[in-house]
Amino acid sequence: MQLTVNGEDHDLVVTTLADLLAKLDFEGDWLATAVNGELVHRADRTAHILTDRDRIEILSPMKGG
């Protein structure tokens, strides 16, 4: 299915948000995820089913002022 991950288009065969993270090699306990503008908690990623054209944001800690 077509997914937009951090602004980039991907054509992937995945079911859940956790699948997507594994497929794209995202690891670590420092990530925050959102799908279509809504936060998806870390604990809910394995249950969160993705659908075609979902927009996913994967953020991590960064320096800031």
Binding site: F26, L31, A32, L59, S60
Partner: protein, 257 residues
């Protein structure tokens, strides 16, 4: 002792973590500033990326409180979502709320700021709003649930120092019980001292330290400037006078002629 959302703090200096030449220099600057709060942010991670993790480890090792920001957010929905994502990552209810309204001056969109502050306060966040020195906005932010206010004193990164001292003085007088932190625009230690002398509770800065030739040395200079300003405020300062007043007593002075 400064108390922000129930957290007692000895240091009245909050330090940003951006724009340092290297992580090691950042670490040195944080340590020599003796700060207990650093600001951080969130950005898109690249696939398989480890950058966020490395930075996270560095921050955790510093043993200071983390104040995540919503820098770069230009709308209420963006800022609210970023705050929620920051809470997920950093496991804190603290959020430095920025809703930017003007591209060139990075002036806050105070209307969006109040709206976002209301939403986030209702969701259990401890909101540190980056705002202007406007008193009506400040009142709305307090009504929205903010127990700390962070007015700018000049545009972010400008190093101009306080541009409107009377406004800051009035703000201090109008909000005697709300911790007020000057956030943004501080360029040099004397600027920090000046606002601390007015009775501001703390100062948040980043570029003034990170952009110095020796950031750790500048961090130490700021730490002392903030303390000097605070002690002067607590000591009670003289008001300027238009005429001379002899400091040496004149009574008992010898008469030679």
């Amino acid at each position: 002792m400064l108390t922000l959302y129930g957290q007692e703090l000895r240091s009245r200096l909050l330090l940003g973590t951006a724009r340092y030449p290297s992580p090691a220099v950042l670490e040195d600057a944080v340590r020599s500033s003796a700060t207990e709060i650093v600001t951080v942010s969130l950005r898109r991670e690249t696939a398989g990326g480890r950058q966020g993790g490395a930075f996270f480890e560095l921050i955790r090792a510093l043993g200071v409180h983390v104040l995540p920001n919503t820098a770069g957010c230009h709308s209420v929905s963006e800022a609210v979502l970023t705050a929620k994502m920051a809470r997920e990552v950093f496991a804190t209810n603290w959020i430095k709320l920025e809703v930017i309204g003007h591209h060139d001056t990075l002036q806050p969109d105070v209307f969006g700021l109040v709206e976002a502050a209301r939403i986030l306060s209702a969701e259990g966040f401890d909101v540190f709003p980056y705002t202007t020195d406007d008193l009506v906005v400040a009142e709305r932010l307090v009504e929205a649930g903010c127990k700390v206010l962070m007015p700018w004193c000049a545009p972010i990164g400008s190093a101009m120092g306080p541009q409107n001292l009377p406004a800051l003085r009035t703000m201090r007088a109008q909000f005697p019980d709300i911790p007020l932190i000057v956030d943004a625009g501080i360029g040099r230690p004397s600027h920090a001292t000046t606002v601390m002398e007015l009775g501001f509770d703390a100062v948040l800065l980043n570029t003034a330290v990170a952009g110095a030739i020796k950031p750790a040395l500048m961090a130490s200079a700021f730490a002392r400037a903030v303390e000097a300003g605070r002690e002067a405020f607590e000591a009670g300062m003289l008001e300027p006078r238009d005429f001379a007043v002899p400091s040496t007593p004149v009574i008992g002075k010898a008469v030679f002629a």
